[in-house]
Symmetry: C2
C-alpha cells in the first residue's frame, strides 16, 4: 500500500542523485550538508530531495509568518558581522525588520514506513525535533527534518529599533552561535545514521 515499487523508485532516486551532482558542479549545493546527504543516500530506501544547512535572513515584513508584502533584504549561509546588520538598520523598512536564523532543514523521500521510522528516530536523537512526514504519495513518504536551532528576532517595529545597539556584538555572537549549533546537529545526524548503517534497511 502506497509504498513505491522497485523500478520507479530507482528511476526517481537516480534522477535526484543526478540533480545533486549538477548542484555540486555549479557550486549550488550547500557543502556543509554533503556528508549527511551521502549518508542518507547510501541507504537503499531513502533519497534526499532538498536541503539547507541553515541561514541568516533579514526580512522586511509586517510579521514573519505573513508572506504578504514581505521581502528578503539580507541572506547569508555564513556568520554575519555587526557592520552587515548596521547597514540594514541604517535604511528605513517599509514595514519592520526581522532577523530570522533558520536551522538546518532536509527533505528525504523514504520508500516505506519502516525506513521513515529509522530516519525520524535518528533525526530526533540529533535534535531535529518537530520532524515528520509532510506528504504521502505513490512516490513514497516525504519526510521533513527540521532542527530547532533558530531565532525569530524583531529588529524594529516600524522605524523604532527594538535591539539594544550597545550590545550589538552580543547579538551577533548569538546569531552566529545559532548557525554553528545547527551545523553541529548536521554532523551529529550524519554520525548517528552512519553508526546504525544497515539497521532498519
Amino acid at each position: 500500500m502506497l509504498a513505491s515499487s522497485g523500478n520507479a523508485w530507482l528511476e526517481r532516486k537516480s534522477e535526484f542523485m543526478r540533480r545533486m551532482v549538477e548542484d555540486i558542479e555549479v557550486g549550488y549545493l550547500d557543502w556543509r550538508v554533503k556528508r549527511l546527504l551521502d549518508a542518507i543516500n547510501s541507504r537503499p530506501k531513502s533519497y534526499t530531495t532538498s536541503s539547507c544547512s541553515g541561514r541568516v535572513c533579514i526580512i522586511d515584513a509586517i510579521k514573519p509568518w505573513e508572506r504578504k508584502e514581505s521581502s528578503v533584504v539580507f541572506k547569508k549561509h555564513d556568520p554575519i558581522s555587526s557592520s552587515e546588520l548596521l547597514r540594514v538598520l541604517s535604511t528605513k523598512p517599509k514595514h519592520s525588520y526581522w532577523l530570522i536564523v533558520g536551522g538546518p532543514i532536509l527533505h528525504v523521500m523514504c520508500q516505506d514506513l519502516e525506513e521513515v521510522k529509522f530516519i525520524l528516530d535518528c533525526a530526533r536523537r540529533a535534535g531535529f525535533k518537530h520532524s515528520g512526514i509532510t506528504s504521502v504519495s505513490d512516490k513514497g513518504f516525504l519526510v521533513e527534518l527540521i532542527s530547532s536551532t533558530q531565532l525569530i528576532l524583531p529588529l524594529t517595529r516600524g522605524e523604532r529599533v527594538l535591539l539594544n545597539l550597545k550590545e550589538i556584538e552580543e547579538v551577533i555572537a548569538l546569531v552566529n552561535e545559532t548557525l554553528f549549533d545547527g551545523w553541529k546537529r548536521i554532523d551529529m545526524l550524519e554520525k548517528i545514521i552512519q553508526s546504525q548503517e544497515g539497521e532498519g534497511a
Copy 2:
C-alpha cells in the same frame, strides 16, 4: 495496513473524549481551542490527543534548544504586560533569559491516510505550516499541527540586556499580537474544517 480497526479505534477515541470532558470540568482545557477540537472530534476518523492555543514563556537557558540546565521562569497563555517582563529582567539569570512565544499546537490521531490528507490540507490553508505525521502505529497516524506564529527572542546574554528597554511597550505589543495571530489561525482552521465537513470522511 497499519490503519486502526473499528472497535479498538472507537474505544481509544472514547477514552480521549472522556479525558477531554474531565479537563473541561477542572478548567484545565484551553477554552480558546475548544470549538476547533469539537470540529475535529466530530469527524469519525479523527480525534485530538492534546492541544495548546499558544503561550508566552520566559526561560533561563544557555540556548532555548538545549534543555540541559534550562528552566521556565514565567509562563502565561494570555497577553503579558511590560511590568511582568521588567519583573523578570530585575532578577539575574543563571544563564540567559529568552522570551518564547509559541504558536498553537495540536495533536490529532487519524484513522487512515485519506483523513491525514484532509486534516493536513485544512491545516496548511489555515497557516499551520510544518505540520505532518510524527508517528505511525497500530493506533493510527499521529498528526502534529503547528502554527508559525512564534517568536524566539533573546532578552539577555548573561546579565547584558539585549532589548532596547526604551521600546519595551513596542516589544510587549508585538508579543501579544503574536498570541492574537495564533488565536486567529485557530478560528480559521475551525472554519475551514467546518466548511468542508463530510469531505474526505
